[in-house]
Amino acid sequence: MDAFTVHTGTAAPLHRSNVDTDQIIPAEYLKRITRHGFEDALFASWRKDPDFVLNRPEYQGVSILVAGPDFGTGSSREHAVWALQDFGFRVVLCSRFADIFRGNSGKGGLLAAVIPQAAIEELWEIVEADPAILITVDLQERKVNAGEFTCNFEVDDYVRWRLLEGLDDIGITLEHSDVISEFEKRRPGFLPSLG
């Protein structure tokens, strides 16, 4: 995974609460067996509407999504993260993420940063007034800046550390292989097994 320190880009406002992963990527697209190539699937049914924010000319090339509360609810499909990344997003800002979505984001290098709903609404206004405004998201400092606007964001410490270092989660766990083996010796014999 590539390390994530600072990202600067333009943003799109998504004025919706409870954006579930069925909206982010409908099930039809989950039949693919690759980890990439989901850009066409992102918000597939909303994108049929020419007025949908990501279809508007002023929001082309955005890399930051400013979303309403409870983003990423529903299914555990990590395809939702891949679709956002394939489309070009590096950061999602939201006041409340669903747990599994937030966890999945951290694995794949998409930054799910939590800021208060009032700050989301301020950013919506800023971005709508000037869609070309550059927004900087600094993971080291945990800060979002857009012109005069500045705000701290929350992110899990462990996820932040892994993102900053670009570390592979599995590699970290494998360093504990010995203790895993010891734990296995202590497991009760009545537990089910398919062996």
């Binding site: 069925d22 794949g108 398919l194």
Partner: protein, 468 residues
């Protein structure tokens, strides 16, 4: 120190803990299916890592597969490739797979319990958010993403931050015709779709104790719809009786050691939950959703809500969007909403008891003209059991379609889907926009309400039906 059920199971699985680090938790059972596993297997291959414990891993085919013509090759080539990829991966990595046509095949959350693989006190994960279902046995069970699927394949462990705990006390006796599904829909409507975020929910109280295992699974299944990753119910004699004699249940001396451990799995009397809510079961009525998230629900005898009555702008907009999508108007009685399709099935309500309850309602009655009723057993075993009891005939006589096992119309990734604008009453767990097919509209209901709705053609409870 006094501990909750969730804390007991958690601490019994800690492999390693470190200052400022998540706990490393051992995983007792890893369930996999065709949709969220291919990229994980690819990851293992790319890194040259083996799958650590094939004997603690089990796979089934459920999301993508058709529920008719199951003896023929899958018609959709993209689906076929995904299913074949699972078969090849399981072969390569030594994982037991229950493919289409096998008697153990079915929805992953129906298969685990029916084989006795789901037991109290275990940690169970699956690349599927409804893994919370298995918490009905007092297991700590939760859904994970594909990166975590790969993580568990490679290490049989997961780094996790402890969850907070919430007690959901459901006290009193459920009125006649009110079910486990109505309990959980009422819980979600009360705490909201994010109310459970960061928590393990423990369902407690006399109404929960009185539920069968099927009912408990229905409740725990939808914990994720309240934003919680897991729901749990302390195991008791109902749990033990259900497990006893199942293919993977312990037996002999092992059974005794298992039960004496399982009996310790309950929340200590003076343990503290981070949050606690209480629901009066005797005041519950059959529940139905009117909107596009599972928290947008009301008792069936109510009317569609009016967004103008809501002051919070975000919530008002959410209601307006939902009503526009659902094509409903404020004040419309829920019982006057007509449906085109009724779907009885899914990991929420596709178990034998659900089919029995619906059959009881529909027996000697007919599905309304112009309504299609799709009955889809949650697993092939459920199908066989239902057929042995003659339930298939009850449904067929009423004019329903009787199908093979799978996720079917719960999600639109196999041939069973709604067409744009079509409206359904569904016993599944998600009423999101397009969940059952692009443009489809979903009302979540219990099996009993589903059956009554099929007969009347409008959202209905069994008590609305004329005597036969």
């Amino acid at each position: 120190m006094s501990r909750t059920l969730a804390e007991k199971v958690w601490s019994d699985h800690i492999i390693h803990e470190g200052e400022g680090l998540p706990d490393l938790l051992y995983i007792d059972l890893h369930l996999i299916h065709e949709v969220t596993s291919p990229q994980a297997f690819d990851g293992l291959r790319a890194a040259g890592r083996p799958l650590r414990r094939p004997d603690l891993t089990v796979a089934t085919e459920d999301h993508n597969i058709p529920t008719f013509d199951v003896d023929k090759p899958i018609a959709d080539p993209v689906s076929r490739i995904q299913v074949e990829t699972l078969r090849e991966n399981c072969k390569e990595f030594g994982v037991t797979l229950f493919p289409l046509g096998n008697v153990e095949q079915g929805i992953v959350h129906v298969v685990g319990p029916q084989m006795g693989l789901t037991q109290p006190g275990m940690t169970i994960v699956c690349g599927d958010s409804h893994t919370s279902t298995h918490g009905a046995f007092g297991a700590l069970a939760f859904g994970i993403g594909t990166s975590e699927v790969e993580h568990v394949m490679a290490t049989q462990a997961l780094p996790l931050k402890p969850f907070k705990t919430m007690a959901i006390n459901v006290e009193g006796a459920l009125p006649e015709g009110v079910t486990a599904k109505d309990i959980i829909l009422a819980v979600i409507a009360q705490i909201g779709t994010s109310g459970g975020q960061g928590y393990v929910l423990e369902y407690r109280g006399s109404a929960i104790k009185a539920l069968s295992m099927e009912g408990r699974m229905t409740v725990c299944n939808m914990s994720i719809e309240a934003g919680a990753r897991a729901g749990m119910i302390a195991p008791d004699s109902t749990t033990f009786d259900y497990i006893k004699g199942k293919p993977h249940a312990p037996y002999g001396k092992d059974w005794e050691s298992a039960v004496s451990y399982w009996e310790t799995l309950n929340t200590d009397p003076d343990a503290q939950f981070d949050r606690e809510i209480t629901i009066d079961a005797s005041a519950l009525r059959p529940f139905v959703t009117w909107g596009t998230n599972p928290g947008q629900g009301l008792p069936l005898d109510q009317v569609v809500p009016d967004p103008k009555a809501v002051s919070d702008p975000v919530e008002r907009a959410a209601i307006e969007n939902a009503l526009a999508y659902m094509d409903l108007r404020p004040g419309q009685p829920l019982k006057e909403i007509t449906v085109d399709t009724v779907f009885l099935g899914s990991c929420t309500n596709g178990r034998i008891e659900d089919l029995r309850a619906a059959a009881q309602v529909i027996k000697n009655r007919k599905v309304a003209d112009g309504v299609r009723l799709l009955v889809v057993p949650g697993s092939t075993r459920v199908r066989i059991e239902a057929e042995a009891e003659g339930l298939d005939q009850v449904f067929l006589d009423a004019g329903a379609e009787w199908r093979g096992a799978g996720c079917s119309m719960c999600l639109a990734m196999n041939p069973d889907k709604l067409s744009p604008g079509e409206r359904s009453a569904s016993t599944s767990n998600r009423n999101f926009e397009g969940r059952q097919g692009p443009g489809g509209r979903t009302h979540l209901v219990s099996p009993e309400v589903a059956a009554a709705t099929a007969v009347r053609g409008t959202l209905s409870a069994p008590t609305d039906l004329a005597e036969v």
